[in-house]
Symmetry: C2
Subunit: 346 residues, 2 copies
Amino acid sequence: MSIITIVGAGMMGSAMSYPARDNGHEVRLVGTHLDRAIIDRVREDRYHPRLKRYLPYGIEPFQVEELETALKGSDLVIGGVSSFGVDWFSENVLPMIPEKVPVILVTKGLQEEADGGLLPFPYAMKKKLPSSKQNISINAIGGPCTSYELADRRNSAVVFCGDDMAILLELKKTLETSYYHINISTDVIGVECAVALKNAYALGVSLAIGLIEQQEGIGCQLAYNPQAALFGQSIREMMGILDMVGGQPENIVYGAGDLYVTIFGGRTRKLGTLLGRGLSFHEAMKELEGVTLESVVITKRIASAMHKRQAAGIVRMNDFPLLAHIYDIIDKGASVDIPWKDFTKS
Amino acid sequence: MSIITIVGAGMMGSAMSYPARDNGHEVRLVGTHLDRAIIDRVREDRYHPRLKRYLPYGIEPFQVEELETALKGSDLVIGGVSSFGVDWFSENVLPMIPEKVPVILVTKGLQEEADGGLLPFPYAMKKKLPSSKQNISINAIGGPCTSYELADRRNSAVVFCGDDMAILLELKKTLETSYYHINISTDVIGVECAVALKNAYALGVSLAIGLIEQQEGIGCQLAYNPQAALFGQSIREMMGILDMVGGQPENIVYGAGDLYVTIFGGRTRKLGTLLGRGLSFHEAMKELEGVTLESVVITKRIASAMHKRQAAGIVRMNDFPLLAHIYDIIDKGASVDIPWKDFTKS
């Protein structure tokens, strides 16, 4: 039995308490300053108001002021913040974690560098740490796993990635259950790039839903040929980008599974559908009540990095026509006009 | 304007008349002996009773006895038979086609060879032709495209594969429309293998639908983590098999798109769902009224070839646990028990 501290009580961070508790670990859940109401409620009766489920018995909730207590004696820290909380986590949590305690992030994403490089969060975080902390092991979780279904103990397959195979094996042993299936990989850039890209491309595939609805009315019978065409093109471009960043081609698997699950629900699908129906990005975001979507941020970040690489002559955006179009829609207010013919240039 | 003769008036063969007519070609549709009633009806009022749509104006329907007339002067022959009609097509149609007239098949699939080899239909057909006919160009269409949606002129992306790039470019020019998008590839084995495999794996992913229904009742809210996990594992195994047959890894794109579209409908999904609910293969096939599914035949064929290769020491079925399980279900009456832990072996 280990002591596992989850920092960040959003949906995915909190959902990690299910496999952790099911394996008999002591689980501490620490809310950030944004999670105050969640922690209050969890303290009352274990109910998580955003996850809409009761968290497992025995979980110990902490408010952000109690972070130090919650980290004391921990064998593993799970970073449960969204990509918007990464800086906060780096600056406020990481420095408090002893070097020998491994960290694993549920946060998916990439940080853009000035030269068009894309850094996975584990590396971006490490870069900011003082030299005295460089031996800390920061790992990340990728692959298709929605928090609701993890909380419902549905079979879910993820991948833990990090630099140290021995630590990955240990993490797998700690968190794997009969329903939470864990692959491991040391290809951090490949895995993180594949799973970050699915955000952009899920938006792309969802456009097809709205396009049909625009023609035939909302609630019409959906067509799948166009979705499948965009899905195939997405996989093609994702493999190209994976290659570009030096990731292992087989890790497209996690991107593909993640793309599949993201298309079925959530706000990225909603946004893509609204755009496909003919709303401008601005109008669509208004309909989504202005909530900033991670998918939008990540898409902009990747596309912007690609454009920098194009300017440096090492990438041709023509090879990524779907990504380029998505970027035009969300960044330049372009209307949806899928560049079908660019997908089949010989 | 060319003369295009489609032989086989099933759903996909007939649906090819839309892009062909839209490009202004003369289109002749020849039914096989199984399509007699279809051709009778098309002659009456152009209605295709299985496609449930009116075929385009100006299409000329022929019964099988009129095959010779229908082929006369043709610039292109589209093979519109299912995989069950491949031998008939090889023996009765191909010998009547002049060597200089290219052929393109809508038929997807692979033929198993005695040594565990897998031959795409274009090659399998050619093997049976006399030496005087070896210069005929036999091509095939892969990629995600359902006949209904092609008939509805939905955006659909396919790939034409064959040995001769110049002929592929010509075929693309002949059949590409504003909604029918054509990639071309000379990797016949890679493309055909990828699109054949989607049949087996669509069955695999659909198992997850039935498994949830078994727990929570038919019509329950579906869970996507398990589907996505199986989708990812499918892509992993498909990439492995593509590599095994010497196909180009990037052609996984067509298999992935095709897998995506196949999961959304049709009898393969139905079969997978029934099996997932706990029916035996025998019971499930009874529910499907005993119609032999191409997906089942192709799955058995590929798995059988893989087992032969395993016996020869060149493949380990352990590397393909999902395919092995699907084969056990449909060939050995095994009950569904997804080998999740075999997907994450390190």
